[in-house]
């Protein structure tokens, strides 16, 4: 495989302004090494593990531009239509001259942000996109594409892609870059069978897991710096969820600051003060077994969001400062019925429109200034594998640039101790780190230092 000289020297990387030189250099070196391995053509696949906010999208865009500049066709596989649109917008912003094709399902209505771009062609047939340097589509759509062949491919969010989705796609490309975050939620199935447990091609595993087991010699790179997580969060998230592949924050302590207008002397405002001062807060309700949509916890989440925005928060970071609007705040939880309950509570508490309320699954890959998290184990009588999954807590506690507030009932450490993780053990299944039970303990242990006891109060107060 020969490729033009353009690929040998990757384009200079745009480094964040005011970045501490050391992490910036580490990140730039990691990216250059990825590009050299990928475009060097010696490997059929290159895997890149990216912790939360480590510049994964920037890497994808950089790699895509390098290949497009060399005049070689490239296909990009994303997992959702929203991710496809995100990538197209970012590629167009990085270089508007690149002809980008969007492979869409028949009857797909283009989002306004993609429709507004000049250089983007949208079609349901890959033949119509033959003139495009880069063709982007979801894994589901690519699966129905036959008889196309690309020398290069990038598979984004590859850890969230189930390995069976890769089967029909892998025949479309010669070489691929697999990019994703191993710490987030594993793909899942609506049927629970362990029929394939231990097989190297178990379709319930992620695409990367299957790829790596069949091709153990593929290079694996790691992005070493999180630009999103503040200095208060990166060590905890790294230690709890990425025990073997540590990363650091791109900013130092003191680079990020959150300012709130004066508050009231109640639990909600004290919680927000703690979060603003330290980056973390645990808003702890009294121990109690509750239904999943625990009314008091749900109301606490909504009230915290309402109070946060009412106190005119301003974020100071390495780029300057900006007021935090509703679109920079998210409330995360584990279940869809909790989402619905919190949304209803937000309306009742007068939370401004625009605050995101969603499940961990849907918050993957997103970024906010402040997040409020309803702890998955809050009020539960048992700790199931679903609620213990490390990826779920990792997603919820790694979406923020400034501060994360966790709402929980007291007694979760005792609940964990009463339910040690005892999942079935199958021959041939690689042991997975981190263990969700241990990760949960690590996070709670840290949160205990930022605990604000809350006495639940009625809606009137």
């Amino acid at each position: 495989m020969t490729l033009t000289a353009a690929l040998a020297a990757p384009p200079p990387l745009a480094l964040p302004a005011r970045a501490v030189p050391d992490p910036a250099r580490a990140a730039a070196e990691a990216t250059a090494a990825v590009l050299a391995d990928f475009t060097g053509g010696r490997h059929r696949g290159v895997i890149v593990d990216s912790p939360p906010g480590a510049g994964k999208s920037t890497l994808v865009v950089t790699a895509a531009r390098a290949i497009a500049d060399a005049g070689e066709p490239l296909m990009i596989v994303a997992q959702t239509n929203e991710q496809v649109d995100d990538l197209i917008v970012r590629i167009a912003a990085a270089d508007p001259r690149i002809a980008v094709g969007r492979l869409s399902a028949r009857g797909h209505t283009p989002s306004p942000r993609v429709a507004a771009l000049d250089g983007v062609t949208i079609s349901h047939a890959v033949d119509d996109l033959a003139g495009c340097a880069i063709v982007v589509g979801t894994a589901d759509k690519w699966a129905y594409t036959k008889a196309a062949r690309f020398p290069w491919a990038i598979v984004d969010e590859a850890y969230q892609m189930r390995s069976d989705k890769l089967l029909p796609i892998a025949t479309l490309f010669d070489r691929a870059l697999f990019v994703g975050d191993p710490g987030q939620l594993d793909p899942f199935s609506t049927v629970g069978v362990d029929r394939w447990a231990g097989l190297s091609w178990d379709p319930m595993q992620s695409a990367v897991a299957v790829l790596a087991r069949h091709n153990p010699d593929l290079p694996v790179h790691r992005l070493p710096v999180s630009w999103r997580l503040p200095a208060s969060a990166a060590p905890l998230v790294s230690q709890a969820f990425y025990p073997d592949t540590p990363f650091r924050s791109g900013t130092a302590a003191g680079d990020r600051r959150l300012e709130l207008a004066a508050g009231r002397p109640d639990a909600a405002d004290r919680t927000l003060d703690e979060a603003a001062a330290t980056g973390w807060a645990l808003h702890e309700l009294p121990a109690r077994h509750t239904v999943r949509t625990d009314a008091e916890a749900v109301r606490a989440c909504a009230r915290l969001a309402a109070r946060l925005l009412a106190r005119r928060p301003v974020a100071y970071d390495e780029h300057g400062s900006h007021p935090i609007g509703p679109d920079r705040v998210a409330i995360g939880c584990a279940h869809k019925d909790q989402v619905a309950a919190i949304r209803a509570a937000c309306a009742a508490e007068g939370v401004p429109d625009g605050v995101t309320v969603d499940t961990a699954n849907r918050l993957q890959g997103r970024e906010y200034d402040v997040t409020i998290v309803l702890h998955p184990l809050s009020g539960r009588r048992d700790a199931t594998a679903f609620h213990l999954e490390a990826g779920r807590l990792c997603v919820l506690t790694s979406r923020h640039r400034h501060a994360c507030v966790v709402v929980a009932r007291a007694g979760i450490p005792e609940l964990l101790d009463a339910h040690p993780s005892t999942g079935g053990v199958h021959l041939g299944v690689p042991v997975k780190f981190p263990d969700g039970w241990e990760a949960n303990h690590a996070v709670l242990d840290h949160l205990a230092r930022h605990r604000v006891p809350a006495v639940p109060d009625g809606p009137g107060r």
């Binding site: 059929r44 696949g45 009857g107 019925d337």
Partner: protein, 486 residues
């Protein structure tokens, strides 16, 4: 556990009797099912100790392995089992119809149904099939020719049992628990006699009393495949020793019979209970699928097809998982559409709602995005007291019009506006009756029976490098007979 299931369980405790959680029977029940109760030797994966089976409650067949560790006896047992089970299975393969489709195929008019007491009975069936299907009538350690054939059938039945909504091989505890909620835990529901005790306690007893009695292992032995440890130590071990010393099977036979007969009676009692429920609308459609799969396997085996591999290939696993997920989705949707009691669970979750139509804009025509001609898209406004958790753009279906798709346009407190997208005929105006009328009580749910085409997986030969490339074909060898555990 859903809110409704929790409520039903709480009520069962208060009433002292299991409470129905379904109004119709969601599984097919053959007019002539075969009840199969296998027992195995403790500590062994698939060493049969005995079995009771048959289609007539009054005439069970009892099979016994006097020395379960003796592999010759083990496969002699399987041959005896095959002599009873194969004629039952193969009888149904004879009468077939040809189904007109793109590629016409044959489907038997009816299919066999095997009922085992619990999911472990299915797991044992799978293991027994696994240990038999690779054996051969020639070569080292030959077995009776019927052994590998039965092994293939047991493998097929256990494989089908993993598909939601399939009724070829059914675990009785699962079938009952899908229709009744007891006042005990799900783990306790795994005891067939206790579960039946809750649902239909004997005269003069409450559900909890009947369940407690059923937990006495002497009065009510476990439904297998594992036996009670006390029985193993005090009854079975001396009986096997007697057989070893004297060659007389009688004592083992009586011991095994004593453990099987009570469960045999409970199984047929459970069949009666299920028969008391009317069949759900979706059952014949799902049974059709079972009949087609049964016929396909019957043809494959009759043509001397090789046993299924030890493991699924990468493509095989992906195809199977996809089919199982589609079956699961269809089963979940059909159950709710067929049964208002199941629908209530979705209504409580906010994924479905019921209410009265208060306004219909029948004449509405719009040009949908990406199209050029105006089409009928009537609006229907429904008032409901349900806690609706749906968003604009969600596509809903209704039990009254299961083939029609409606899109949520607006959700306000207690009011939902729907746009009817299809199922209105080809005329310029919607066909009469195809759109709900003002005053009609309707129910809509965010459910999808998923009848679209399956996912396009490559062929086995095209398995890509990411999944290890094309797998080697299975070729039977003499080694198959030498596996440690077969």
């Amino acid at each position: 556990m859903s809110v409704l299931a929790a409520f039903a369980r709480a009520r069962a405790v208060r009433e002292g009797r299991a409470q129905p959680i379904a109004t119709v029977r969601h599984l097919h029940l053959s007019p002539r099912p075969m009840v199969f109760i296998p027992l195995r030797l403790a500590g062994e994966a698939a060493a049969p100790l005995g079995a009771m089976l048959g289609t007539d409650p009054a005439e069970p067949h009892l099979l016994v392995v006097p020395q379960p560790r003796d592999r010759d006896q083990r496969f002699a047992f399987v041959a005896e089992l095959a002599a009873i089970m194969l004629p039952y299975l193969e009888r149904y393969a004879k009468d077939v119809e040809t189904v007109e489709a793109k590629t016409p195929y044959e489907r038997s008019l009816d299919a066999p149904q095997i009922l085992v007491p619990n999911p472990r009975g299915i797991a044992f069936t799978r293991l027994l099939g696994r240990s038999c299907r690779f054996r051969r009538a020639d070569g080292p350690y030959p077995v009776h020719p019927s052994v590998p054939v039965l092994g293939q059938w047991l493998t097929f039945l256990a494989d089908r049992a993993e598909f939601p909504g399939s009724s070829l091989l059914v675990a009785m505890t699962e079938a009952l628990a899908a229709h009744w909620a007891t006042g005990q835990s799900r783990v306790e529901d795994g005891n067939l006699a206790a579960l039946v005790g809750w649902i239909a306690p004997p005269d003069g007893m409450t559900g909890p009393e009947a369940a407690a009695a059923a937990e006495d292992m002497v009065w009510s032995p476990p439904a297998g495949p594992d036996t009670a440890p006390e029985f193993d130590a005090e009854v079975l071990a001396p009986a096997i020793r007697t057989y070893e010393a004297t060659g007389s099977v009688a004592q083992v036979r009586d011991a095994v019979r004593s453990q099987l007969e009570p469960t045999w009676r409970v199984m047929w009692r459970a069949v009666e209970l299920l028969r008391g429920l009317p069949e759900a609308r979706g059952v014949p459609g799902r049974w059709e699928r079972d009949r087609a799969e049964f016929t396909r396997e019957a043809i494959r085996i009759a043509e001397g097809g090789p046993p299924r591999g030890r493991h699924d290939s990468a493509v095989g696993a992906a195809v199977r998982l996809s089919a199982m997920e589609r079956a699961q989705q269809a089963f979940e949707a059909q159950r709710a559409l067929d049964d208002p009691m199941v629908m209530v669970e979705h209504r409580l979750e906010g994924r479905a709602f019921a209410g009265e139509v208060v306004a219909v804009e029948l004449e509405r025509r719009i040009v949908p995005p990406g199209r050029t001609r105006a089409v009928n898209r009537p609006l229907v406004t429904v008032v409901t007291a349900d806690p609706v958790r749906l968003a604009p753009g969600d596509v809903l279906i209704s039990p009254a019009r299961p083939r029609q798709h409606c899109e949520v346009v607006e959700v306000r407190r207690g009011t939902v506006v729907l746009q009817v997208n299809d199922g209105m005929g080809r005329g310029a105006r919607p066909a009469p009756g195809s759109v709900p009328e003002v005053g009609e009580i309707v129910c809509y749910a965010d459910l999808d029976p998923g009848d679209g085409p399956g996912f396009p997986f490559p062929s086995r030969e095209e398995t890509p490098w990411t999944h290890g490339g094309p797998p080697a074909e299975y070729v039977p060898t003499d080694e198959d007979a030498m596996e440690d555990w077969s």
